[in-house]
């Protein structure tokens, strides 16, 4: 399980879990689950396009995910946010369908871009992932206070000169960067599970943002590590375990919150 080729998998999964835990906290706080699903899912069309014209996959993913983020941000100003996200997603997927219809022999690659192949990560893929990860986390550290303010109480943020529109745009670009670097290694669908389940669970354990972020990273790490280990032993796809563990961690979080509430009610009596 810790053989040479597995070291890359453990390393890259750890990096991805840390980033997903941090970015995911804001995704959950802002209620941006739909964009967080749409951007990675649609960006994989970019990968298909890149392979069609013979460019590096990472370029295709980056271009498509950033364009999607900017498009959702720009159109979302006047239209309903969820409608715009849905339309952006279907436009990207439809472009992906065109790219795929013009190529042949793409099937295994689709599966890996959607569901990931963390066990097949090459050493030279780790450095770009780590670098982009540092950029994302640095951006979130810079944006930390205004982002929390405009996510939790947008009106107060506006009054203090934090434009919620600009924050939305900046945040969507961070999600897009996260996407571009994680989709090739863990897949579009897995990164979404990691950005929703663990942070949502963490939020039901604590109200303090900093604690919740640390907790969310911790749960994401445990989820990913357990998923790799069990997937290695059972040979079943890693995405299955990540999806199920993420959802169950949220279930545990909800259970904990309910139990604490009843205990508080009882101690008040």
């Amino acid at each position: 399980m810790f053989a040479g080729f597995m070291i890359n998998a453990w390393t890259v999964a750890t990096i991805v879990a840390v980033i997903a835990g941090v970015v995911g906290f804001f995704v959950v706080l802002r209620g941006s689950a739909f964009p967080a699903h749409a951007i990675p899912n649609g960006a994989f069309a970019g990968a298909a396009g890149a392979s069609l014209i013979g460019v590096n996959t990472l370029v295709g993913l980056g271009v498509f995910s950033v364009l999607a983020a900017l498009g959702i941000g720009a159109l979302g100003r006047r239209g309903r946010h969820d409608v715009v996200t849905a339309l952006a997603l279907v436009v990207m997927l439809a472009l992906g369908a065109v790219f795929l219809s013009q190529t042949t022999q793409y099937e295994p690659e689709i599966f890996s871009l959607l569901f990931g192949e963390v066990l097949g990560v090459a050493s030279n893929e780790i450095v770009p992932v780590a670098l982009l990860g540092v950029v994302c986390i640095a951006a979130l550290i810079v944006l930390y206070r205004p982002l929390i303010l405009s996510s939790a109480v947008p009106d107060v943020g506006e009054a203090k000169g934090v434009s919620s529109q600009r924050m939305e745009m900046a945040f969507l670009v961070v999600v897009a960067l996260t996407t571009a670097m994680t989709v090739p290694v863990v897949g579009a669908l897995l990164i979404f599970s990691l950005m929703i389940g663990p942070p949502a669970a963490a939020r039901s354990f604590t109200d303090r943002p900093a604690v919740a972020i640390v907790l969310s990273v911790g749960i994401a790490l445990v989820t990913v590590w357990a998923a790799i280990a069990i997937s290695f032993l059972s040979n079943w796809p890693i995405g299955f375990f990540v999806g199920v563990f993420s959802a169950s961690s949220y279930g545990v979080g909800r259970g904990w919150a309910a139990w604490r509430r009843t205990r508080m009610v009882r101690s008040a009596d």
């Binding site: 689950a33 006047r78 969820d82 409608v83 849905a86 472009l95 949502a200 995405g239 299955f240």
Partner: protein, 297 residues
């Protein structure tokens, strides 16, 4: 004439089936979609396509009819979303996300088991992207039955549903059973989406659910008109898309036809963008003012 309608277009059997299935699905999606857009549940509408895909691939694995899997998966997913859903829109999106994440994991497993046990190449691509041209004509009656059930549910709860979509507070004050109405609506949504993602693929399912309804609701505030407009937009976009895709077979020498989904999505997206044009916006705004004056007098 041949420039627009390629020879053999009207006599082609797949085209007939595509026209029929596409139009039915477009109408059902448009009617349900008007409520989906009003309630801000586009995410649920899209996710149910993925969730029912997981059901479909599971059914394929154990040898059941995929349609059963699609519908069962969609209904189960909708129930789970509604159960863990919090009333606020943000909490609802989160619940949708959790259900979606879990069911994507299941889909990964089913597809993996499916490809290792039987070598059905192209299965994941087919399930994800679907194709209106590959619809079997024997599914037409089933599509009709489920469509009628779905429209029946919407017709049954139309008034409380409309009220609770416009304002949950007023609906609650009037004694509308919000949970029951929400559940019935989610059931109709699951049926519509499960059906359409089987018949025409997950991309088009979302496009036809959200697109026409969103365009219609930008043009009019009146719910009845919005439904009619959404149906017309959906059906026209579908028929045009089928026509263009059929023609695209001859666009390049390799005869690699472009996917129908691409054309339909582009038509819908361009229509949506056109509602952003200053001209359209002023006309709509003026008509709304006139409407308001008429109502006042």
């Amino acid at each position: 004439m041949h420039f627009v309608f390629e020879p053999g277009f009207f006599s082609s059997h797949p085209v007939h089936v595509a026209f029929i299935v596409g139009s039915i699905v477009a109408v059902v999606s448009a009617v349900v979609g008007v409520f989906t857009v009003m309630r801000g549940q586009s995410f649920a509408g899209h996710s149910l396509a993925d969730v029912s895909t997981a059901g479909g691939s599971g059914a394929l694995l154990i040898g059941l009819n995929p349609l059963l899997g699609f519908v069962a998966g969609g209904v189960a997913g909708a129930g789970a979303m509604e159960m863990i859903g919090v009333r606020r829109a943000r909490g609802r999106d989160l619940a949708t996300g959790i259900v979606l994440g879990a069911s994507i994991g299941l889909a990964a497993l089913f597809l993996y088991l499916g490809t290792t046990r039987s070598s059905t190449t192209g299965a994941s691509q087919q399930i994800l992207f679907g194709s209106i041209f590959s619809t079997d004509s024997s599914t037409v009656p089933i599509v009709v039955v489920f469509s009628v059930v779905c429209l029946g549910i919407i017709a049954f709860v139309r008034r409380p549903l409309l009220l609770s979509s416009v304002s949950t507070d007023i609906a609650a004050a009037r004694g509308v059973p919000l949970r029951l109405v929400g559940l019935l609506y989610m059931l109709a949504l699951a049926l519509a989406v499960g059906l359409s993602s089987l018949a025409i693929g997950a991309i088009l399912s979302t496009a036809l659910l959200i697109g026409p309804a969103a365009i219609a609701l930008r043009l009019t505030n009146r719910i009845g008109w919005a439904m009619v407009a959404a149906c017309v937009i959906g059906v026209v976009a579908t028929l045009l898309g089928v026509l263009l895709a059929y023609d695209s077979y001859d666009w390049n020498s390799r005869h690699a036809a472009w996917p129908v989904s691409f054309f339909i999505v582009v038509i819908i997206f361009l229509l949506y963008l056109s509602t952003e044009l200053p001209l359209v916006r002023t006309v709509v705004a003026r008509r709304r003012e006139e409407g308001a004056c008429l109502q006042d007098s």
